[in-house]
Symmetry: C2
Subunit: 314 residues, 2 copies
Amino acid sequence: MVVTEPDPELPPPPLELIPAGVEVVEVSATPTDDQVARAQVLYIWDHRFADLGALLRRATDVRWVHAASVGVNRLLCPELAAVTLTNSRGVFDVPIAEWVIAAVLSHVKGLADSWSLQRERRWQYRTTGRLAGRRAAVVGSGSIGRAVAERLMRLDVDVTLVGRTASADPRFGTVRASTELVSVAAEVDLLVLAAPLTPATTALVGSEVLDALGPSGFLVNVGRGPTVVEADLVDALRSGAIAGAALDVFEVEPLPAGSPLWSIPNVLVSPHMSGDYVGFEVDMMRVFTDNLARWLRGEPLHNIVDPAVGYVPQ
Amino acid sequence: MVVTEPDPELPPPPLELIPAGVEVVEVSATPTDDQVARAQVLYIWDHRFADLGALLRRATDVRWVHAASVGVNRLLCPELAAVTLTNSRGVFDVPIAEWVIAAVLSHVKGLADSWSLQRERRWQYRTTGRLAGRRAAVVGSGSIGRAVAERLMRLDVDVTLVGRTASADPRFGTVRASTELVSVAAEVDLLVLAAPLTPATTALVGSEVLDALGPSGFLVNVGRGPTVVEADLVDALRSGAIAGAALDVFEVEPLPAGSPLWSIPNVLVSPHMSGDYVGFEVDMMRVFTDNLARWLRGEPLHNIVDPAVGYVPQ
């Protein structure tokens, strides 16, 4: 059973990739009783679907739920206790990391200003910044955060990885705990959020962290909107407490037309698409069909989410 | 003697970095006879200065000319036969390479479209591209071209370096000759020009190379404008023969207000600033003062340009 609502903009799932022996029922966000009656596997295609508990109470034969996303915060519910939840970890790692590099380097090199001046046909020479040698913190020690950190390091940025708890990592050295984020933010110019939405990451970045990041600081959020207190971010951007931000996720999506974020200088508003490349739906479906083959063979599934923390433990 | 005209936008040279024992005369593009009378060293601060031959005929004691630029095409003249010419190779390598990555990833991730939609407060989800796995050719095997190629490789791009002649390189493998550029362009998605302006690179990129680059191809020019036949580029962009371009240099600079390049979609017009970072004038002056110390000690200078080819041989 594949749930494909409510986002009309999403590419359709390439259902033809599912093996012929498997019966597929494509359903809306509110399927009929007949549709849910015999489903054993549920594939949530649309990351905006948010009513999994109600659906699982009706689809009592479901034993496995797979999410076509990495963040599963909208899906967490008590009904998952009797079900295995897997996600699509890996598909977005490099694309999101590249989007972060694009956003950061565009800020450093003033490309938004270049495009603005270009629209007015104005040749206005400026000096801009350099990325190499800067310090960055990446919040989120999962596969996306690591891909971001890896690419920043390859461009000679000094990167600190921030996780739920402190640890030591062979590639990234000391991973700092997110409880220390204020002091970490004070040490860096660039703060990248690539964390799942959990109780520990909700409202993690407010005025205290932003003030610590400082007037040359740049914030990137490719994780989940509620990790940032948006009102505090608006204040920090308007007051110059930080220099700018690139945001792919927001407290409310789509970002309401009345949000001040649309028009604050040095802010990039991107419609939750940082990881979505042409053809991603095929790779996404392959993550599912690989797991489906394991399921049909009775083997352990990959990418099992721990509902207690809300992500796949490393 | 330091020539600081004609560009009024350039930061002033930090002359205080020149050792106290050296007499410094700061002159305009047309110095008086009295000013040129005793000069032995000439520092061309402004890369737009283009009348070196006339100046050297008057400043007959000058034995060394240093350029605050990497490209020295405007300075080449017969009068240089009796003079050593050095340039500022190295200062711009990483900044320009970062600008290229910014421009390329902005194109791949559709950031110009994101900013356009943002101005209209439109939340419009799209899928974009990936950089990793693409193929690129970098024309120019000097220190800037190598820095660009290096950073593209670090982001998992398959890079071919193109030089004046074919050779083998320990880091970049087979360096192709620029005479083969049509066939090289046919093999890549991304063509980056980081070459000095010489007879071999003038009008190197015209309709034949652009057609070979093809409809998904992207052109970046951080070298010199006349390497590209601009009329052919305009045609290729308008017809969709290539997908887009990021241009920091032009046949005529500043780019005339009437140029169609200002308003063609998927084109970034940047006012010859890709390498100029905040504080670059200090690093630039240090390249000169390091060489000046060698000169005062009677040691060989670094970064000596071969006027026959127009750049510092590797």
